[in-house]
């Protein structure tokens, strides 16, 4: 179902701001109670932390020693998600390993703390650990197995929106930026928004407004005149390897630090993360220093990281709630979430849900949904803990390894492969452009990439950008030079993630990409004085 845009005014019961896991989770939660929603995002789905994380479905063990409540919460939510969205989750299991030089006491206390938090934790010998994961260093001296899993945050988000669209014809509007609220007599009457692509103004009138804007929640709250939402922006950078390393999640058994986690992401692995407080949300990019730090730390757990070809780095900003007395290290700020009802700000129909983590998005949405539904006079209970998330053809394509298996099973020679690295066929693109949440008539390559694995493989879009562009012109999704601007935007976006890891075997890839994009296509001089 395509999002329809008419300039002018849109009406809904609940306006939700922020297209990440939380925002889309609220959208679905409310839709399951029969409530119509409009979800907006100034960019696209998962443009914030939901699109820049490990993809880790915490067993909770990571917090067991420092924050047992969070740990228990993670465990419960993880179990729920495994039950309602199994296709989004790879229950691969995890290991915590301590390496020579790590605190042996921390290692010892670990299993006890897990038990307290109700997290299944099995001791294994270093030799057993290496048998489970041959990539582990010889210097491992302690190891535990935990029920870590990985989650595809893109699929979760897409399924949330898709389900809400099905249930109550709710709408998702991408590239729609909130400019201001119209507030009158303690009520937010409408939100004045702007389509960032066309400049068109859209007014949305909603009975209830939910601020689920993640790292931007502070900004949005202030637009509504609320000053109580204080966030600390903690930037985290991760790097992605060319091929999957190991079967399970591998965690460093020590107080959280850089390069602690190596997470399998289907066909690749993600190594992260770093933590650095930043003041601005603009221009957050992975740096060479961060990447080097990750590699240096990762090598201690998994020596082959020293020779691994990395294909991409990316950064996300964790929005951390500032508690009184929180210090500058984002790691120690609370990972918990808060729901602000803003009654003390004099508003009756505005709510902010902030903080939290990917693993607990459903719970955050539940609390928010309870509040919003009550305010709407809707007495339906939350159903997300027990209602499976339905999938659909257009939203299957973010799962790593799905497209190749689909191709192998179908063997349809006429369905040309657009992204060779991830084996995404043309039919997937067609399905996405036609039916994916947020699809529209001038869908950008970036938007297609968010909804699939295009450009996420080895070549990082070097080649597939060309094939995808051609396909979109063939299908007449593009019929003007504007199409090439999407190509340019896409490859420029990809570049930001490739440059910091461009060394060794990956450097030729980037050199070749530039030769194609500039030398062959002239994307560096589009629409100029020729």
């Amino acid at each position: 179902m395509r999002a329809t845009r008419h300039g002018g005014v849109l009406e809904t019961e609940a306006l939700i701001i922020g297209g990440g896991a939380t925002g889309t989770g609220v959208m679905r939660d409310l839709a399951l109670r029969g409530i119509h929603c409009i979800l907006i995002d100034r960019r696209d789905l998962n443009a914030g932390a939901s699109g820049g994380n490990h993809g880790l479905l915490h067993s909770g063990a990571r917090y067991a020693v420092g924050d047992p409540d969070t740990a228990a919460e993670c465990r419960r939510e993880g179990d729920i998600l495994k039950a309602v969205a199994p296709e989004c989750i790879d229950a691969c299991g995890g290991l915590f390993v301590a390496v020579e030089g790590d605190d042996p006491e921390y290692a010892e206390r670990f299993s006890e703390h897990c038990r307290t938090a109700g997290i299944e934790c099995t001791t294994v010998t270093p030799a057993e650990a290496r048998e489970l994961e041959p990539c582990l260093s010889e210097k491992v001296f302690a190891a535990y197995r935990v029920p870590d899993a990985t989650v595809d945050p893109f699929r979760i988000t897409l399924e949330n929106v898709n389900h809400a669209q099905q249930l109550t014809q709710s709408l998702f509007l991408a590239h729609t930026e909130l400019e201001r609220f119209v507030v009158d007599d303690g009520t937010v009457r409408s939100a004045i928004c702007r389509d960032t692509r066309t400049g068109e103004t859209i007014t949305i009138r909603a009975r209830q407004v939910v601020n689920a804007a993640g790292a931007w929640a502070m900004r949005v709250a202030r637009l509504a005149g609320c000053s109580g939402v204080e966030l600390l922006y903690s930037k985290g950078t991760l790097i992605i390897s060319n091929a999957r390393i190991g079967r399970r999640v591998i965690n460093r058994l020590r107080r959280p630090g850089d390069g602690d986690i190596l997470v399998p992401g289907g066909t690749v692995s993600l190594l992260g993360t770093t933590s650095e407080t930043v003041q601005s949300l603009d221009d957050v990019h992975p740096t060479v220093a961060e990447v080097d730090r990750l590699v240096a730390e990762g090598v201690a757990m998994v020596p082959q990281i020293a020779h691994t070809r990395f294909i991409r780095a990316f950064s996300g900003v964790r929005p951390l709630l500032m508690a009184a007395g929180a210090d500058a290290d984002g790691r120690k700020a609370s990972r918990g979430f808060s729901l602000f009802d803003h009654e003390s700000d004099g508003l009756a129909n505005f709510a902010t849900v902030a903080g939290g983590k990917l693993t607990t998005f459903r719970l955050m949405a539940e609390k928010t949904g309870d509040l919003v539904a009550r305010r709407l006079g809707n007495s339906e209970p939350c159903k997300t803990a027990s209602t499976p998330l339905p999938s659909a053809d257009a939203i299957r394509w973010t799962e790593p390894g799905f497209a190749p298996r689909y191709w192998a099973a179908r063997r349809e020679p006429g369905d040309l492969i657009v992204c060779e690295c991830e084996m995404v066929p043309a039919s997937a693109i067609d399905s996405i452009v036609e039916n994916a949440p947020g699809a529209d008539s001038q869908m950008s390559l970036n938007a297609i990439a968010v909804r699939s694995r295009v450009g996420k493989g080895t070549c990082q879009g070097a080649f597939c950008s060309l094939r995808l562009t051609s396909h979109l012109y063939d299908r007449q999704v593009y019929d003007s030079p504007a199409g090439l601007r999407h190509t340019r935007d896409f490859v420029a976006q990809r570049f930001k993630g490739v440059a910091p890891v461009a060394w060794g075997e990956h450097l030729p890839q980037l050199e070749l990409a530039e030769a194609l994009h500039c030398g062959l296509l002239g994307l560096d001089h589009l629409a100029e004085d020729t």
Partner: protein, 424 residues
């Protein structure tokens, strides 16, 4: 098993079989020198087929590359092209295009100005010399001729619609049609190279012409992706034009593309015929710089091959081609441990914006040479009195962004060979 190690002796060893290596071999042959050439396809495989001299400089699009080169000498004194006299560049370029033409791959002679040639996206690229098979596009575009652009079912990544959508503003007479290639029209993927080979067969040309002819209508020209043969593109081109009765032009495609294959196969076939000892598609494993000369060692499946030469031209290219490599912090030259001028540390290799008009620092890294085109070692001295360097391996140029790859390769190869054969 007793295997026979193979030895060659040559007066000049050329290391690298890209444009610079090929040009160096040709120039050396012209001087009657015994040449041995070793290399493995690198960046040359991805060429459009266009031979660029200088397409963009600090001021933007270059219309007159000769004039722009004069400015380059002032603005970028360390640019390798700036260190070759204009007459030499003209001579080198002319000889090279003439040699290609004589060998069966026709190229337009370099003229006084750049031309704006087609890309598969329908953008335009400034270049100096085009293959004859691509030339008719220029006149057709200049005259705004009613033109049909044909693309093929299954030819992934080439869309005539894309081309026309982007060119239409300046060329309104363009029209597109998609057809199936004879015997390869089931919808399955086809490769440009395979179509090109098929067009070497006369019967296939007939059948293709039969499919296109009824679609021409009032079209006065026909554009196709670059598939007009690999071995004898000029012949295939002429034949097809004759069958269809209109000028036909090829348009470069994305990789894997034909122009690079044409060049590689041309040199693999013709250079040995002219006496070059060619080790095709092998890289030098070890280079020994000795008092008596330079020795290259490589391995083919059957064992070790040694080449001894009095002098050598290193034209090993950059990262794609293997002339340079980098760990996470430092860029190295891979064969002779030459000094590599480079930005300090990886953070300085690339700018934040992919398309930053200043280009990326890493692209200007490379090997520096003395006034006799001899690359310098870490101590700033020529690594060997008879070792010379040419091509994109050289520092202080950005061949991708400046569109100067071919000019750089050909002109510096010319000078390097000159220097290598100079007495005293």
């Amino acid at each position: 098993m007793i295997k026979q190690p193979r030895h060659h002796r040559a007066e000049l060893l050329v290391i690298g079989s890209g444009l610079a290596g090929m040009a160096a071999s040709l120039f050396a042959l012209d001087r009657g020198v015994e040449v041995a050439l070793v290399g493995n396809t690198g960046a040359i495989a991805f060429t459009t087929g266009y031979l660029d001299l200088l397409g963009y400089d600090g001021k933007g699009l270059v219309h007159d590359p000769w004039q722009a080169l004069a400015r380059l000498r002032e603005d970028e004194p360390r640019h390798p092209l700036g260190n070759v006299a204009e007459d030499d560049i003209r001579d080198a370029f002319t000889r090279f295009t003439r040699a290609l033409t004589e060998m069966g791959l026709g190229y337009a002679a370099p003229g006084p100005r750049n031309v704006l040639a087609l890309t598969p996206a329908g953008t335009l690229k400034p270049t100096l010399s085009l293959p004859l098979t691509m030339q008719p596009a220029l006149a057709a575009m200049a005259r705004g001729l009613d033109t049909l652009v044909v693309d093929f079912i299954g030819l992934n990544g080439f869309s005539a619609r894309e081309l026309v959508a982007n060119l239409a503003p300046r060329w309104p007479g363009l029209r597109t049609q998609r057809i199936g290639f004879p015997d390869m029209d089931s919808g399955a993927e086809v490769y440009a190279e395979v179509l090109a080979r098929a067009l070497e067969v006369p019967a296939t040309r007939q059948r293709l012409a039969e499919r296109i002819r009824p679609l021409l209508g009032s079209a006065k020209a026909l554009g196709l992706p670059a598939i007009l043969g690999v071995h004898r593109p000029d012949h295939v081109h002429r034949e097809l034009q004759s069958l269809l009765g209109v000028p036909v032009f090829e348009i470069p495609t994305m990789p894997p593309a034909v122009p690079g294959v044409r060049l590689r196969e041309l040199f693999e076939t013709r250079l040995p015929q002219r006496g070059v000892a060619l080790e095709p598609q092998h890289k030098v494993k070890r280079l020994e710089l000795l008092p008596q000369g330079i020795t290259a060692r490589l391995e083919d499946p059957y064992g070790e091959v040694t080449i001894e030469a009095a002098a050598a031209v290193l034209a090993t290219g950059r990262f794609t081609s293997g002339g340079l490599s980098a760990d996470s912090d430092r860029i190295r030259e891979t064969l002779a441990n030459l000094a590599v001028v480079q930005p300090e540390g990886r953070a300085a290799w690339h700018r934040a914006d992919y398309f930053d008009p200043r280009g990326h620092g890493i692209n200007r890294a490379g090997v520096t040479v003395d006034e006799r085109w001899r690359p310098l070692d870490a101590a700033g001295k020529p690594a060997h009195p008879r070792l010379f360097a040419a091509g994109s391996l050289l520092a202080h140029q950005d061949w991708i962004r400046q569109r100067c790859g071919a000019g750089l390769a050909i002109a510096t190869a010319y000078k390097a060979v000159d220097a290598a054969l100079a007495r005293g």
